[in-house]
């Protein structure tokens, strides 16, 4: 490994900015969750236009879910672990490129269709806020730069950069409060740009419609179909010997109202 100089920019981008980003993300989400439950929605525009949405939205969303899974695998699981179970670097990489490429293209295609729809469908465009537009710019930039790293690495032939030895250790080190600035500084520019844009996306996340992703209704699979709530908070507990499923009071379980 060549002797490496860590510049002030490196420290700012890879040592300081991640923590600023995390503070804004977590603080912003808590604030939004506490004070803006009413604004916490998908803001669906299906009522206005549904033909394009029916193709574009699932394409984008399933694509981005796959992309998220790819990021989790690539960033969190150390290379040593996959080596230990006998996954060769080449095999891993080809898989990552193939699956990641398909997911990325799907996501970008979906996003492109969604933006086309947003621009050309009158009512949808009328309902687009400045906030939405800003969010789209950052989101698409993150996807484009991310896809670019994948595409570039295809053309780099044998000299493929292994992000699992630069970006991933840095990513994990952030959460250990020992940011490994040096290893991120080694990563190629394409990865660095993607990472910065990605962090910017997380900075704006709590203040855009993206928050709807954090209330993905997984608990729908487990809750009873019929939901009862009492206006009087004591009553259900007083009158029934045991509170049965589906009869929970306000402020408990499924529909906890803070």
């Amino acid at each position: 490994m060549p002797e490496q100089v860590i510049t002030a920019w490196d420290v700012i981008w890879w040592g300081v900015f991640p923590y600023i980003m995390l503070a804004i993300l977590v603080g912003g989400l808590i604030w939004r969750h506490k004070y803006d439950q009413f604004g916490w929605t998908t803001r669906s525009s299906q009522l206005y236009e549904s033909k394009l949405l029916r193709i574009a939205s699932p394409l984008f969303h399933f694509g981005i879910l796959a992309v998220i899974v790819g990021h989790v695998v690539g960033l969190i699981i150390p290379k040593a672990w996959t080596d230990a179970v006998g996954v060769s670097q080449d095999f891993y990489h080809v898989n990552a490129l193939l699956v990641g490429g398909i997911a990325g293209v799907g996501t970008l295609g979906g996003a492109a269709l969604l933006i086309y729809r947003r621009r050309t469908s009158g009512p949808v465009f009328a309902a687009t806020t400045k906030n939405d537009k800003m969010m789209y710019v950052v989101l698409v930039a993150a996807i484009v730069f991310g896809l670019a790293t994948t595409v570039l690495s295809v053309f780099e032939a044998d000299h493929t950069h292994n992000y699992r030895e630069t970006v991933s250790p840095w990513f994990r080190s952030i959460f250990l409060l020992q940011p490994d600035v040096a290893s991120m500084a080694q990563a190629p520019l394409s990865f660095q740009i993607h990472t910065v844009v990605g962090m910017m996306l997380f900075v704006i996340w709590p203040f855009t419609r993206l928050v709807h992703a954090l209330t993905a209704p997984i608990h729908y699979l487990f809750r009873p179909y019929i939901v009862y709530r009492s206006r009087d908070k004591q009553r259900a507990a007083v009158t029934s010997a045991k509170v049965r499923r589906g009869w929970s009071d306000v402020g408990t379980g499924d529909n906890a109202k803070e």
Partner: protein, 558 residues
């Protein structure tokens, strides 16, 4: 047995004149906001007609309500939980604005601002969605009074079905057609499929009165409830991105006032009151195999408020005495369960709807009269109900899942009431045989007549108020913790006049309005505790304290 109370409504369709007052007042009260322009919590449909949104009753297209799985279990028609989550990114079955209508306003300003010229200025329709010029193509009641029915009548899903199943044709030729109005609000079902469809668990049924509401803070706008509701009575607010629905005017009902649609109903055709029902049996009743049995099963859920066992259990469940009393006086209980003249709308959706309808006899009576018969003679009417099969079959598709015998039974009771009371009104000897012909006693028939024809305000609306001990949870009283005296008795406070926490405006307004309605004079200082609430002053008289005390000249020396 788990006894629960349900605020229910009955609408007597014979009295509906299709004036849309209920729709308009409801809209003014609840949905006159941006994002809800197309939303009608209450709408009035002319039947035959497509309804609102168009063809909402065609569940093969819209997938609303419940259905039975192969093993006989209840399942959502639009699919189970996993299927719903996979379809969440673009709800697969979702009405679009074109299925409702594009709301519009008119460019009234040009009428005033247009420069003088040879042509009259016109106010062009402007879309409330895009703000651009638009062509008006449909509305919430475009086919009102059978408008365009000759061309579009076949699009009514019920007409389609009746035509398919009977070889007779529903005629839309002027002299052979029939029509009636169907006002619709949310059904506040016992087994709501909108609630079951909601991924966020934001829709809930209130334990106290069964009113179904959407928690606006918990709704995330996944729109599955719109698909789930077979009556399409949940609307998506396209500005806020949240689902909205009829609230049964719960802020009014809580203080004992009828809903806005009921209060303003010109025909006085709405009844409000309590049902007691057995919540433990709802699931089993909704899973009844045969669709035509669903009405009977739903009726079985309704408990007899005079039954000592029911009363004891209700008390044990914490239902208050005044609510039990209201349940015993409930007009909706009488119409649905005692006289059995009110029927649920589309029981085949298996949601156990709690807004019931007395089917209209008028298409039959009108036709008889036009044909020159004595339309109110018992014999003629009884015969004609059977004879005029088309209206009966149409009504059966609406109210009894196609069982026309039950509709005939109800119409015969209504006909009997008419004929019997006509005899009484004409000073003839009351004809007991008419009552017996429909399996009723003369007294019952007379009681039914009192409730349905005289229909006094106090008899139509029997609404127990929400409980004082729960007052702190009432919508407006969030901050007035110790509002002890409740509605109607707030004159006394521990430290004299105007001490303690302020009286909530709703309570004060309620009392002032009641005073004004029941007495000759304007609300005086007495009821307002010496203060003047200008909100309650309607300009009649000058309540004490409105103006400073006048010096009358002679009192100058003091």
């Amino acid at each position: 047995m788990r006894v629960m109370a349900q605020m229910g409504m009955v609408m007597n369709l014979d009295k509906c004149i299709g004036c849309h007052t209920c729709s308009v007042t409801c809209k003014q009260a609840w949905t006159n906001r941006a994002g809800t322009e197309y939303v009608w919590f209450n709408n009035v449909e002319t039947r035959p007609g497509q309804g609102y949104p168009r063809r909402y009753e065609d569940q093969e297209t819209w997938k609303g309500g419940w259905t039975l799985s192969k093993s006989g279990r209840l399942k959502l028609k639009a699919g189970g939980r996993v299927k719903k989550l996979f379809g969440i990114f673009a709800s697969p079955v979702q009405p679009e604005l074109k299925d409702y209508y594009e709301p519009w306003t008119y460019d009234y300003k040009t009428l005033i601002d247009a420069p003088a010229g040879d042509d009259f200025p016109v106010a062009r329709p402007k879309s409330l969605i895009t703000g651009k010029d638009m062509d008006i193509a449909w509305s919430a009641n475009w086919d009102d009074n059978l408008g365009g029915v000759a061309e579009l009548g076949h699009l009514d899903p019920i007409v389609e079905k009746v035509r398919r199943e009977s070889n007779e044709k529903i005629q839309f030729e002027f002299e052979k057609t029939f029509m009636f109005y169907l006002p619709r609000i949310c059904e506040h079902c016992l087994n709501p499929s909108c609630m079951a469809s909601c991924p966020s668990g934001a829709i809930y049924k209130r334990v106290e009165d069964g009113i179904v509401l959407v928690d606006q803070d918990k709704c995330r706008g996944w729109r599955q409830c719109v698909t789930g509701c077979p009556y399409k009575k949940i609307y998506f607010n396209h500005k806020t991105g949240k689902a909205e629905k009829c609230t049964m005017c719960y802020p009014r009902v809580e203080i004992g006032l009828p809903t806005v649609c009921s209060e303003t109903c010109v025909g006085r055709l709405r009844y409000l009151g309590l049902f007691l029902y057995d919540a433990d049996k709802v699931g089993a009743a909704a899973a009844t195999e045969n669709e035509t049995d669903l009405y009977e099963k739903q009726l079985e859920l309704i408990l007899d408020p005079f039954d000592p066992a029911v009363i004891a259990e209700a008390r044990r469940q914490g239902i208050a005495e005044d609510w039990l009393d209201a349940a015993r006086r409930s007009p909706v209980y009488k119409l649905a369960k005692v006289y059995k003249v009110a029927l649920p709308l589309h029981p085949e959706y298996r949601t156990m709807p709690m807004v019931w309808y007395v089917p209209p006899l008028s298409p039959v009576v009108d036709l008889l009269r036009e044909q020159g018969h004595d339309a109110e003679a018992a014999g003629t009417l009884f015969g004609a109900i059977e004879e005029l099969r088309i209206p009966v079959e149409y009504l059966a598709e609406l109210f009894t899942a196609g069982d026309s015998a039950k509709i005939t039974e109800v119409l015969r009771k209504l006909a009997a009431m008419r004929s019997y009371m006509r005899g009484v009104a004409l000073g003839q000897e009351p004809d007991a045989s008419i009552a017996h012909a429909v399996g009723m006693e003369e007294e019952t028939l007379y009681e039914m007549y009192r409730l349905m024809a005289i229909a006094k305000y106090e008899d139509r609306y029997v609404i127990p108020t929400a409980h004082r001990e729960q007052a702190h949870d009432l919508e407006e009283m969030g901050c007035s913790l110790d509002f002890e005296d409740g509605v109607g008795m707030y004159e006394n406070s521990p430290f004299g006049e105007a001490s303690g926490t302020p009286t909530p405006v709703a309570i004060e307004t309620f009392n002032a309005l009641r005073d004004r309605q029941t007495s000759e004079s304007a609300p005086s200082a007495e009821t307002l505790r010496g203060r003047v609430n200008l909100l309650n002053w309607d300009g009649t008289g000058a309540p004490d304290g409105l103006f400073p005390a006048k010096h009358d000249g002679r009192g100058g020396e003091s």
